[in-house]
């Protein structure tokens, strides 16, 4: 099977989902990103990324309970799957191995 690819933004979202383990949902991801990147990202972009990650089986989702917030709509929480974790690990290894090959250059 062809290895599913992972876009840059998708990777970022996957990282956030993994970091916020079991408590990640659309708005929380957006807030997290804003905090870390200092840049507002669009909720629709996050929804798309989450949908694609789900389609690629990197994340799983479950519905939370009904609360009076959000007009009574349930939250959809995302968890990273083993496949997703594996993917992240691969990426991480790939990057660090390449990173380590960078000669020590000084940019004065």
């Amino acid at each position: 099977m062809k290895q599913a690819s992972l876009g840059e933004f998708e990777e970022l979202i996957l990282l956030v989902v993994a970091a916020q383990h079991d408590q990640a949902y659309g708005v929380s991801i957006q807030e997290f990103l804003e905090e870390k990147l200092n840049k507002s990202s669009n909720i629709s972009a996050i929804h798309v990324a989450l949908k694609r990650l789900t389609d690629k089986d990197f994340v799983q989702s479950r519905f939370g309970g009904i609360t009076s917030e959000r007009g009574g709509r349930r939250k959809k929480f995302y968890v990273i799957t083993a496949l997703g974790k594996q993917m992240l690990d691969q990426q991480y290894e790939l990057r660090t191995s390449i990173y380590q090959q960078i000669p020590k250059i000084s940019f004065g």
């Binding site: 708005v27 629709s44 929804h47 949908k51 519905f63 959000r70 709509r73 349930r74 959809k76």
Partner: protein, 868 residues
């Protein structure tokens, strides 16, 4: 304060968004919205909408394609259900099919007729470029438009105006009813005179002969296929033969002509019919100097204009051209498309004022009304039947049928029914077409013409669609929950719709009944009105061949035939006389203007032949030698001229002083549309060469024998000529051709509308009776009588009919009154006509409703209540 995100944005989101993502997206967006409200409340709505819009992307848009349906299986099921429903309610189905078939066949007939009318004269190849030159010509009575033009016009236009590709001048009526002889055979035929270009401008196909030089010689003639076959057996044998033509009139035209061509028989889609085409030079040369100048207008001119010419500019150019040829010409000219002449041939004071197009419109409206009524029947029957199908609808909806599916199903059902009706209607059309042709005086055929085929499918399709839309929307709107629980209450509005439809139908019916009665009364009045002369048993013969010289002998001989009462002759016909002139002076004349009168020149015995009553004085008589300077007036003339004690007075007429010897009572020589106008009789001298209408009065009851005797005399004096005669009763009827057509059509039309309305009412009554059968059962058990139940059931419908009558009466009073105003002499509207129409409507409605009501009332309550 709790704020909500904009509703419509939310609805939009719900409409497009995939269901598995909707809750998440909606929730997140609302959470953000609530957050936004705290920070920048003014922007929150905008922000929300923007976010919704950003989600409108392929990832989240749901698939709008319904699941792939097994279409063929679905239609099979529709078909099966339709068929079962048809059979289950056979009575309803038959009513529906009869109604639709009646409506459709009538509409198809009218369509064929309208199609034929609209295509009349359009078969000429250059139809779009073929125009006729009309002349606008002021008279004291208003502006008249005529098709007379100078004989020089066609040639001049062709030579001097580049926009005119070709032109032909034609003389149409002058050679009608001439006599053609070849060897021993004599026939009457209609001739046309035309310049050489005739067959280039008009597309009458030639079987033999070259169209470029066919009329090059003035003794050439081209004859029709039918005439060629009559004269020579085979049409091609005609070429090169010589035939004799005889047409007498002011000048006599008797010459031999060489047949140089044969044209195909003129088909029914041409309004112009003729048997021979002569060279117009032959005619014009006889008329001599009077023909070839710009002031006389003996010919009609037809032109082919260049494609894309501006007709308005051409009109001006042609008028200027003609006016420049002769200073005295002030009249203007314009071009009229040839094929438009047929439908738009009337002018009122110089302005085009319709013509036959009026009938085309009237009949189209009639056809539409009929179709609408048929559709209404269908609608009211289908909605009335709704309760029977509620369970079906409920179950279908519960099992997941969408409203669309149900709507399509109902439309399919009605299309199926209309298709069945179309088959029946086509059979009816084919069978009754000869009858229809007879009524309308047409030669319609079912041709496989693309327009006709299209119409035969389009008319039923639209009918089916129109009649099914309301039932389909109505039936598919039921809530499955309440249907299956069985507590569906038919809404008030729906009952109103159905009642409204019945009222509409009966309003139309009553209006039509009144109109038909009034039309028939008026036609009867026309037939029975005392015209001031007796038109029974008078025949007309025209003075042909040897009669020209031997008229006196003929008249003397004819008088010897037993049964002949009187005979006389005159220059033109009496009935429909249109021969005007003026009395310029008389004793006691007060105003400047001449008295306009209708003129008839007659020989002795004319007044006796027609039985015109004398008011004073005497008729022309051989006993007075000098009657040629005597005249007879009618009462209207005397009154209009203000003559007191007129007998013996002199008037100046046609340049001579003439003495009045008699006054006739007024007699109606024109149609009853006109008032009796001043009339003058002048004696036609016995030595005059004209006077072509011979009149013979026959004793009643001896017609056959007497006509045989007259024929014998005719053959003796005028051998070789066909003996043709016409009863003047027929001339009289010809004055009312259009009225009798309207009368005939309206009779059929009313019949169909009544049938359709009855079908509708009958269906509704049946349905109500069925629906209320338990109620009736209980009433009977409790002790209600059959009469009271019948009354109970009929009452509702009769109320509707009474309302319809109330609406229809003023409408019909107005419309019939308008129609009657066209006649100068007409019947007065009588109240009993309206009463009768009302009674007929109630009677018909009672028959339709009563049968069902009585049936329901007679039913044994055991049967209706027992199975509970």
């Amino acid at each position: 304060m709790k704020m909500h995100p904009p509703k419509w944005a939310l609805q939009f989101l719900r409409w497009f968004c995939r269901e598995d993502y909707l809750e998440e997206i909606e929730g997140d967006l609302i959470e953000l919205f609530e957050e936004q409200l705290k920070q920048a409340p003014h922007w929150a709505d905008w922000h929300f909408c923007w976010q919704v819009l950003l989600h409108f992307r392929p990832d989240f848009i749901k698939s709008f394609r319904t699941q792939p349906l097994n279409t063929s299986a679905m239609f099979k099921a529709y078909f099966k259900i339709t068929w079962r429903n048809l059979r289950r309610d056979l009575q309803f189905s038959i009513l529906n099919i009869i109604g639709l078939t009646c409506g459709l066949s009538f509409a198809l007939f009218i369509f064929l007729w309208v199609h034929d009318e609209l295509n009349m004269d359009k078969f000429h190849e250059k139809d779009h470029q073929l125009y006729q030159v009309m002349q606008v010509y002021p008279t004291p009575d208003g502006i008249e438009v005529v098709d007379w033009t100078p004989a020089l016009l066609a040639q001049t236009l062709k030579e001097e105006m580049p926009e005119i590709e070709n032109a032909v001048s034609i003389k149409s009526k002058a050679f009608d009813n001439g006599i053609i002889s070849y060897k021993e055979k004599n026939f009457k035929a209609d001739g046309k005179l035309a310049s050489q270009e005739f067959f280039e401008v008009f597309s009458y196909p030639l079987i033999a002969g070259n169209k470029d030089d066919i009329l090059s010689d003035k003794y050439n003639v081209i004859i029709s296929e039918a005439l060629a076959e009559k004269l020579f057996g085979i049409s091609l044998a005609a070429i090169g033969e010589t035939i004799k033509w005889e047409k007498r009139g002011y000048y006599d035209y008797i010459d031999n002509f060489k047949v140089v061509g044969v044209f195909e028989n003129i088909r029914s889609f041409s309004s112009d019919h003729f048997d021979l085409v002569f060279n117009s030079d032959y005619y014009l040369e006889k008329e001599k100097a009077s023909s070839y100048n710009w002031q006389n207008n003996p010919m009609a001119t037809y032109v082919i204009v260049q494609q894309g010419s501006n007709i308005k500019n051409l009109d001006n150019k042609i008028s200027k051209l003609i006016q420049s040829k002769d200073e005295q010409i002030k009249n203007s000219f314009f071009l009229k498309q040839y094929s438009k002449n047929y439908l738009y041939g009337n002018y009122e004071n110089g302005v085009e004022a319709g013509g036959r197009i009026g009938y085309v419109r009237l009949f189209s409206i009639i056809a539409i009304i009929i179709l609408v009524i048929a559709c209404i029947n269908f609608m009211s029957l289908s909605t009335a039947r709704a309760s029977k199908r509620m369970k079906e609808i409920g179950v279908k909806k519960t099992l997941g049928a969408r409203r669309n599916n149900l709507i399509i199903q109902f439309i399919f059902e009605s299309q199926f029914l209309t298709f069945l009706s179309l088959v029946l209607a086509t059979v009816i059309v084919v069978l009754l077409l000869p009858q229809f042709n007879h009524i309308t005086d047409k030669q319609l055929r079912l041709r496989f013409d693309s327009e006709i085929i299209l119409a035969f499918f389009a008319i039923p399709f639209v009918t089916g669609l129109f009649s099914s839309i309301y039932p389909a929307l109505y039936l598919s709107s039921f809530n499955p929950g309440s249907i299956l629980k069985g507590n569906l209450v038919t809404s008030l509005g729906e009952a109103w719709v159905r009642k409204g439809l019945v009222v509409f139908q009966f309003t139309v019916s009553v209006t039509l009944i009144v109109s038909v009665i009034v039309i028939y009364q008026q036609m009867n009045f026309i037939q029975s009105k005392n015209l001031g002369f007796n038109r029974d048993n008078i025949i007309r013969i025209s003075r042909d061949g040897a009669l020209k010289e031997k008229l006196k002998t003929f008249l003397t001989e004819v008088k010897k035939v037993p049964g002949v009462l009187y005979s006389s002759y005159s220059n033109v016909e009496l009935i429909g006389n249109n021969n005007f002139s003026g009395i310029t002076d008389w004793d006691g004349k007060t105003s400047e203007a001449a008295q306009v009168v209708n003129v008839l020149e007659t020989n002795y015995d004319f007044i006796e032949t027609f039985g015109i009553e004398m008011e004073q004085g005497r008729a022309f008589s051989r006993e007075f030698a000098d009657d040629s300077l005597k005249v007879i007036l009618n009462e209207a003339a005397v009154k209009s001229m203000g003559l007191a004690d007129p007998i013996g007075k002199t008037i100046t007429f046609w340049g001579l002083k003439r003495q009045i010897v008699g006054i006739t009572k007024d007699f109606q020589y024109q149609s009853l549309h006109h008032k009796v106008e001043p009339f003058i009789f002048k004696l036609l001298p016995e030595n005059a060469s004209y006077g072509d209408e011979i009149w013979i009065k026959i004793k009643a009851g001896t017609e056959l024998a007497t006509i045989k005797g007259i024929k014998k005399t005719y053959a003796k004096i005028n051998p070789g000529y066909p003996f043709e005669f016409k009863f003047i009763e027929d001339d009289y009827q010809d004055l009312y051709t259009s009225e009798s057509k309207v009368a005939a059509i309206s009779k059929y039309f009313t019949g169909i509308v009544i049938i359709l309305s009855c079908l509708g009412l009958f269906g509704l009554a049946t349905f109500t009776a069925q629906k209320r059968r338990k109620e009736i059962g209980i009433r009977k058990v409790v002790g209600a009588s059959v009469q009271s139940i019948t009354l109970l059931l009929s009452k509702d419908f009769l109320q509707l009919v009474v309302i319809a009558i109330a609406i229809a009466l003023p409408i019909s009073w107005y419309s019939t009154n308008k129609w009657l105003e066209h006649f100068s002499y007409h019947i007065e509207l009588q109240y009993w006509v309206f009463l009768l129409a009302g009674i007929i409507a109630i009677g018909i409605a009672f028959m339709a409703v009563g049968f069902q009501s009585v049936k329901a009332a007679l039913a044994n309550p055991m049967n209706t209540l027992g199975n509970e």
